[in-house]
């Protein structure tokens, strides 16, 4: 994608609202008396959810490598698995194989009948309130609610307000029209996965298609928080236990550098290789390159500016690497229409 096109979508995510017809997002509906028991069998997190609550977790293979990046969600007595994985057919099969002897449940692939329209941005909430009604303002981060045409999941992987609206396929065009039309006064941009991916990189969200391709485990990915420390029986728990006993010696760490880098470029400390680049992209907000590198112990800390990649300085950094505008926006007081202009011209 041309940089100026990337920039428009990027700036919309960072400053106003961006719309995406989200073809990457998948959703399974699990219903029945044992729906949550099924999820409890296969998820490494606890699935004791309040009505409307979502929790971000992973599904692990037997070697504790994640193959699905998911949210478990509760809407009354229905369970949803929302997220990113390669094949729903394979996932349903995997769940069936790993859920033990449970029978009172059914799984429906909602992508067969629904589409996802995603809104990301510091004023996405305001657009949603205008287009869908103010009830959406009552949704905390990581919550799900039935709303107008279908369901809305408040999540997002850009670090800004994010809403995934799940609509019946036959209504997708209609709702695309409604949202993009309401978005005109918000300087809404239609974006694609590249804009979203750059923002998720800056906020250190896990990407199954980037760092998820290297066979890394949750501690190496800095994703231990997605697992319950108290749960001992889930697919991959054996491997996790072994890993905890053995320890691990490398970790995905965020970096910044002034010049372009490529995936698999080696990272050096003085002349010693200490890691490799897993992903990188240009940050228009920081005006430099941001990326993730797999760095070995003990160099794997943030805040160290002593590394080189391609003979250029590489500095490890804490995440998120930007100060998301959404952190400073207050539903009660702020509005897109009374926002302040900033110096960069990024409004």
């Amino acid at each position: 994608m041309a940089e100026h096109e990337l920039n428009k979508g990027y700036w919309a995510i960072r400053n106003s609202v961006a719309f995406e017809d989200d073809a990457d997002l998948h959703c399974l509906l699990i219903q029945g008396r044992e729906a949550f028991k099924v999820l409890d069998q296969v998820c490494p997190c606890n699935v004791f959810l309040q009505n409307g609550q979502m929790k971000h977790t992973l599904l692990l293979d037997e070697t504790a490598v994640p193959f699905a990046d998911v949210y478990v969600c509760r809407n009354r007595e229905d369970a949803y698995l929302l997220g990113y994985w390669s094949s729903s057919v394979e996932l349903v099969d995997w769940i069936t194989r790993h859920q033990g002897a449970l029978t009172e449940y059914s799984i429906t692939d909602l992508n067969e009948s629904h589409g996802f329209l995603t809104l990301n941005g510091p004023y996405a909430w305001e657009l949603c309130a205008n287009a869908l009604g103010t009830a959406i303002l009552g949704m905390p981060y990581l919550s799900v609610m039935p709303l107008k045409p279908g369901m809305v999941f408040r999540a997002g992987i850009t670090g800004e307000y994010g809403y995934h609206l799940m609509v019946p396929a036959e209504h997708k065009d209609e709702w695309t029209g409604i949202l993009t039309s309401a978005g005109k006064s918000f300087d809404l941009e239609v974006t694609g996965s590249a804009d979203r991916a750059q923002c998720s990189l800056e906020n250190f969200f896990f990407d199954l298609n980037r760092e998820g391709q290297y066979g890394l485990t949750p501690p190496e990915l800095q994703l231990q928080w997605r697992l319950s420390r108290q749960k001992t029986a889930y697919p991959g728990s054996g491997a996790m236990q072994e890993l905890r006993e053995k320890g691990w010696d490398r970790r995905v760490t965020c970096f910044i550098t002034k010049n372009p880098v490529r995936v698999n470029d080696e990272v050096f400390y003085e002349n010693d290789p200490v890691g490799q680049v897993l992903s990188a992209g240009y940050s228009p907000l920081r005006k430099e390159y941001v990326g993730k590198a797999l760095i070995r112990k003990p160099f794997w800390h943030a805040g160290l500016n002593c590394f080189q990649v391609n003979c250029q300085v590489l500095e490890t950094i804490s995440t998120p690497v930007i100060d998301n505008r959404s952190i400073h926006v207050n539903f009660n007081l702020d509005s897109y229409f009374t926002r302040e202009e900033n110096e960069d011209g990024a409004v």
Partner: protein, 637 residues
Amino acid sequence: MKIVISGMGAYCALGSSTKELWEGISQGICGIGPITRFDVTPFETKLGGMVPGGDNIESDEKRLLWYALEAAKEALKNANITDNRDVSLVLGTSNGIKRKKIDDISYGLAGELNLGGLVITVSTACTSSSHAIGFAADLLRRGSARMVLAGGADILTRDVFAGFYSLGLLSKTPCSPFSNSLGTTLGEGAAFLVMETEENAIRRGIHPQSVFFGYGISADAFHDTKPDQGGSGVGTAIKNALRDSHLQPGDIDYINAHGTGTAANDSAEWRGIQHALTDHALQLPVSSSKSFFGHAQGAAGALEAVTTLICMQHNVIPPTLNYNRPRSFSPNDPVASGLPRKHPVRYALSTNSGFGGVNSALVFGRKEAAHQPQKGAPRPISIVGYGINTDEEYISRFVPYDDLRSTDRPAKLLAGVVAMILDQAGIPIRSNECENIGLFVGQDHLSAESIDDLDNSIKERGINHLSAAAFTRLVINYPAGVSCRLFGLKGPLAAVAARPGNGMTALCLAADYLAWRDDTEFVIVASVDDQEPGEGKFAGAVGLLLQAGDGQSPVCLRGWSMSRNFDRAAEEALKMSGRSAGELPSSPVAASPARPDLCTVVDTIEGMKNTNQRLFHLQSERELNYMGIDIILERMD
């Protein structure tokens, strides 16, 4: 039967009577000012809605009693009551006096006034006195009381101020609900209504203008301090109040909102109002009287009810003071005029919400307003579960550690017995069924450990760095709120105390609620005691699950009654069960530090399996200054 309000009393930042309250409201005078009672130097906020002259009272205990007494005396005087023997008391207080039993204030007040009726304390944080008003109406409807002094009292202490401050909830300027500055201003005071049936009032020769129509209460089941942002709990309380009043959304002409001024409350409350009243909400004036006298904590519900009623009597509605620019997504008409507005009100709604996710809504009207009769016959009640839990860790079998992380022992004990009962009844946790389950808890003290945590944090870090976590646990309804959150219980939530037995009092109030209303199908009744386990002391929770309808289980609650006249308590309970006095021998129920009253009830139910006896009359131990409580259980199989 009409419930009328024959007298009112108020004692707050605007003055020491309803006359001074009205003068303040009618002139748009803000009673919020600098706090001088305790040192506010460590805080960036220095304001409170302080009772004039309150600083001069020498102790917190005397201060609380004084406020309550003055407001109560005014209400009784306005109601032309000179003999208090027929007057019961339902008093709401959020904090009472630190480290004392929460109902000490009620017995102190009842003693000073020589009240001869029931004495019941409600402690549900900031809805305490609105709950009190609702329960008072229930007592009158059931004939358990003839006249009731209903309301509440709370004082503002340094600890409470510091606790709210630590949570970032206080405004640096006088609170301006629904306006563009965020935060609340704490206050204090007392307010009471004298409530009785219209028939009783006429018999006494008085003709009150104000009528109480109904109430609704609910639980958010969301968070220990923050309201459910979707406003569903507020919405449910309002819907239940309308249902109790036999009214439609379009009948409401004005809302006196809880309107604390905080970001979390005001937005959630407005969403809840819209949820319940739909399009009609958009045309309604919605104001918050906290802008005049601050947030009087447990007394807020009664004080705001008095404000609403006084204004109705003058054909006006009170404004929201200190209003600058509207906050986004707030009421279209917050009555931001600075002065009361002429506005005819047939029916007014008064809403309140509190820590632990508790909500209340009261409906008042004018005498001329149409009235529907209450339900003719009560629904039968089955007891479908029961248990005793003395193991703090029992709850861990049902709930992951992370969800219990910041709770205390009473909360865990209560949650354990609730889990036990739900499991027994085959009701899955957080199921749709749980949304229709209420929880009434008899409890009269806080966790000593949590109080110690707070005090220790103040000693170690200073008052402005006290433990916010400990502070959130210091409301009597905290354990109940935790259980609602853990299990998804969204029905009516209450925490009550009364002597001789908190548990049996909760049982009678819950049974009244379940039998005579139809907005809830199940109520869990429990009591929790958190004494240091030691020789002869009980630390645990006891619970029963009541379900509306016959045939749900072999055990039924056939009759219940509370009265200061012990014979009357027994007679009424027996009459409900279709038996007459003397027909059924009674068994005593002691309530002691060793064994709470509900334990005996549970033991009796358990023992029913091993005896041919079908009817059981349980009677609280007759102590002279307290009420008699009688219940009749029947085995149906």
